[in-house]
Every structure is written in C-alpha cells, then in structure tokens.
C-alpha cells in the first residue's frame, strides 16, 4: 500500500476550484517534485499533504489514516508525528540557537535531546554552528537548520516548499545534495518548486495547471545526475 494516496480530491473556494479531481499516490521512499506556475494549486496541494488543510472532496490517506476525516487536533498529531516541513523562508525561531531550533521540534514530538539535535546538525554540516542564532547564519545555513529540524523526528514524509527559493546556486546545490542523501537513506521526499533544476533531480515530477495534474513524469535519468 502506498504511503500517501490522494483519491479524487478537490478544493473549492466559492466558485474557484483550486484543486480539481486530483488523484496521486506516493510510495514509501519516493522523491516527488510538484511543479507548476503560480496559481496552479501547488500551495493548496502542499497544505493538504502537510495536514494544514482538508480537501473539499475526496480522500487523503496518509499511512492508513484519512486526513479529510480528522479533527484539527488529529491533523496536528499527524503533522507532528509523520511530517517534516521545510520552508522557503526557513522560519526559524529568531531567539533560539540552531540546536535549540532543532530541539523545538523534538519538544513537541517527544523529548528534547541535545545530543541527537547536534547529530542532526552534523548531518547537514552545521555542527560547528549549533550555538549560533539564526541572525548569525547565512541563508543557506538557516535552510540547513530548517532541514535538520524537519528530519529530527524521523518523519514518514519530508515536505519542502520551495526549499531553494531564497538560496544562491552554491547553497541550492548543498540542499539538493542533502535531499539526494536523504533519498538514499529511504526518506520520502515531496518537494514543491517552480525551479526546473530542483524538479529535474527528483525521481518523479508532476506538473499542476489550473488545479489539475497536467504531467506526471518519471525521471529516467534519476540517479545519474
């Protein structure tokens, strides 16, 4: 059974269909890129997969639970236990150090463990910057802290929204390399992006247009880049 199943989902705001009868399956360990122009429904789809919104119609089965039927409390639990979020604008707590920012995710999930948080930072090459505040870190470093935070609770899915949108090329490559490493380790990755370079390195890419899936392409060159 697929890790994530979207069955004929639609999201309707008044007369606007942000998502229109979308069906999608994501397997465990898969790396999926969601692309499309502005207004194509990328953010709406990401909010639904990230358990921050519910579809107006259809079913979203994540690890056997239909999130469309969950309460707000239930959605919070799923988000905490099964999803790791990476944001375009990093969204670190500005008065907490890098390691404390990682520990915040542990705090809500289970039990804060500084050693484990430091290991997560080491994984993204930031152990020596662990005691720095976000304001003392570069954009690329902040994004890596955000990735470490997303990974700390070993989520079922890592969901990234334009993870390289605010980064220069060098840092973009670092982040892509981290994603590749995560994929090798079996992490399920869903990356929302409008950057073709980021989309093309994924195992599979879907392109949204006007709330519908316009393309669903398997990357034949996956693993060669």
């Amino acid at each position: 059974m697929s890790l994530l199943q979207l069955k004929n989902i639609s999201k309707i705001y008044g007369e606007l269909k942000a998502l229109d009868d979308i069906s999608l399956e994501v397997e465990n360990g898969e790396w999926l890129a969601i692309m499309g122009p502005s207004g194509s429904g990328k953010s709406t789809l990401m909010n639904i997969i990230g358990c921050m919104d519910k579809p107006s119609l259809g079913e979203v089965i994540l690890d056997g639970r239909d999130i469309a039927k969950e309460s707000d409390k239930g959605l919070t639990e799923i988000r905490r236990d099964k999803i790791g979020l990476i944001f375009q604008q990093f969204h670190l707590v500005n008065y907490l150090t890098a390691v404390e920012n990682v520990m915040v995710a542990q705090y809500y999930h289970s039990m804060p463990d500084e050693k484990e948080a430091l290991e997560a930072l080491e994984r993204v090459g930031l152990k020596d910057r662990a005691k720095h505040l976000p304001s003392q870190l570069s954009g690329g470093e902040q994004q890596r802290v955000c990735i470490a935070r997303a990974l700390i609770n070993h989520p079922e899915i890592v969901l990234a929204d334009e993870p390289t949108g605010n980064l220069d090329e060098a840092n973009e490559n670092i982040v892509i390399d981290i994603f590749k490493q995560l994929h090798k380790e079996g992490t399920t990755l869903i990356v929302v992006t409008h950057d073709p370079e980021v989309g093309e390195v994924a195992q599979r890419m879907i392109v949204l247009d006007h709330g519908r899936i316009k393309e669903n392409t398997i990357n034949k060159n996956f693993g060669n880049t």
């Binding site: 909010n47 921050m52 919070t76 905490r80 707590v93 907490l96 404390e100 804060p112």
Partner: protein, 378 residues
Amino acid sequence: MTKQKMFLRMITASLIRRRSRMIVALLAISVGAAILSGLVTIYYDVPRQMGAQFRNYGANMILVSSGDGKDFDVTAMNEAVSHISPESFLGATPYRYETVRIHDQPVVTAGTDIKSAGITSPYWHIEGAWPAEGEALVGKTEAEHLGLKTGSSFTMSYADESNEKEPVERDMVVSGILETGGSEEDYIYIEMSDLESIAGSGDLDVAELSISASQEELTAAADSITSADNGVSARLVKRVTQSESTVLTKLQALVFIVTAVVLVLTMICVATTMTAVVTERRKEIGLRKSLGASDRSIIVEFMGEGLLLGCIGGLAGALLGFVFAEFVSVNVFSSSIRFQPLLLPVTMIVSVAVTGLACLMPVRSAIDIDPALVLKGE
C-alpha cells in the same frame, strides 16, 4: 533533557535574547506595579501620617475623675493608658490645678509632667526654655499680669482652703513664657513634684492623652477605660477627633479613587504592551503549530513567559513603589513611610494576574491562526 528544562530554556531565551522587546514590556509592568504599590502604601499610611499631623493640634482624649470617690492619680492614669495599644499611644500628661499666691495675687498653677506636656501639646510656643524642677513656665497673660519675664524669680505660697496651717512657700524661677493664643496663657506650669512640695499629694484634675488612631479605635479605647471602673472616665476631644476623621475619610477616598483609576490605566497599558508583544509573534505561533504544537502547549509557553515577566516586573515595581511612596511621604508629610511587607507578594500577584490576563487574550486569538499562512510565507 526533560520537557520542563526545554520549556524553561525557551522562556528564558525569549526574555534574554529579545531584550529590547522584553524591556519595554518589563518597564510597562514595573511602572504599573510601582505606581500601584506606591499608592496603596500611601493609602494605608495616610492615617498614621495624618494622625501624626493632627497630633500637632493637641491631645485627642482626656481623662477625668469618674466621681465615684476613687483616687484619680498618676497611677490611675497609667492604668488607663494600659488600655491603649502601645503602637498608637504617643503620650499622656497629668494636670493638677491649685490656686497659689504670687505677689499676693491668686494664680492658678498646674502641676504636670513637663516632658509629656511637650508631646501632648506640641503647639505650645515657649519664649525661653521648658522648666526643670524649681522652675516655672508662665502663661503670657499671667506673666504680663504679674510682671514676670524669663529669668525672673518669684515666691509661690500655698495655703489650704481652711487656712488653719501656715502657708508653704517656695522660690521659683521663670524658665519661659508660654504662648498658645488660648486659655493656657492664664496659668503657670510647674513640675508635679514642685506642686506637691507646697500643696501635698492630691488627685489629678485632668489627664490629656495623645493617641494616633482612628475615631473608632479612640471610641473603643475610651469605652474600655471608662468601663474598667478605676475611677477614671475617658472622653474624646471631639473637635479634634471629628475633624481628623472627616479629613482622613476624604483623603483616603481620594487616594482610593486615584489608585483605582491608576490600576485600570495600568491594566490597559500592560495589556496593550503585552498584546503588541504577543501579536508580533503570530508568525512564531504559526510555526510552532506547523511543527505540531497543540493549542494548549502554545498557551502554556506564552503564558509562562508572560507570567515570568509579570513576576519580575511585579517585584521590581513593588520595590520601586516603596521608593515612590517614600518620596511622596517625605515631600508631603515630612516623614518616612512605613514599609508594608504584605504589599510585596500582593503587588507581584496583581502584576502576574494583569500580565496573564493581558497575554491570554492575544494568545487565544493568535492560536486560531492558520499555520498554512506561515508555510506560504505570508
């Protein structure tokens, strides 16, 4: 690391690393708490301060013989004084009036405790010095009548009413002239021992008491003294006690109203500041929700931060408030304020409650925000 330790780490990090923001909030809480505790201190100290001011206008209770044949002497007076709370008792002055002859003129002379008279009659104005043994304080009217001045010597003679015994004489020196603008200027005041040396021992005519207490407390003390049935009847000097009570009631009402208004303004000020502090962190709240924080844990974190802030601000405010009250007291009443230890925890509790309330409203509204907005970067 336990969750509690992480909780404290997050709160302290927020307070320490967001210093500029937190100082504004802390200042608002401290200033509010300082004004509150200062005004409450003044409110409770006003009776004592005003009582001390009113004592300048003389005694507020007199003791007279109850007329049941029992002795009314200094011992009886002291027994009556024992019915008064030592904290509020300021002084008691016995007076025994006898008619003596000076320059063949009859003159009413009061034997008293000169030291106590200085306490119960602080309004007495003396040209010269307070009398010691063998000296007399002569009322201005009587001094003019007898042609006495400070330093003058005179002989005082006393004969009992029956005139059966030879008059007893005593040489005295005028230590000072007494000016009050009242009936006191018609008398001569000497130490009780000097009067007894010529007139022998005898009952007091009256004792004047100065007590720093409310009218209710004075009435209760007077009733207690009178009902003790020791030959002493206590009466309040109503022109003093009533005007004191009236002024005090009005002054306390004024301070109470000002305190209440300041408290409301403080609450609004603290609430506004805390609302601004919490509102600007809506994005952080949204982020925490997206990381899986429950509404309850967000409320607990932000409230914990607010309550710690309220606690620190309340403590600082309570101490500043005492300094403020001391400043007011020294400048208005020319005396130090009495520290009310209970006010410290009370101010802290009020500060914590006000801050908590001020945080609760914005946090409750902030937890309703949609974390998806944070994801979108809006």
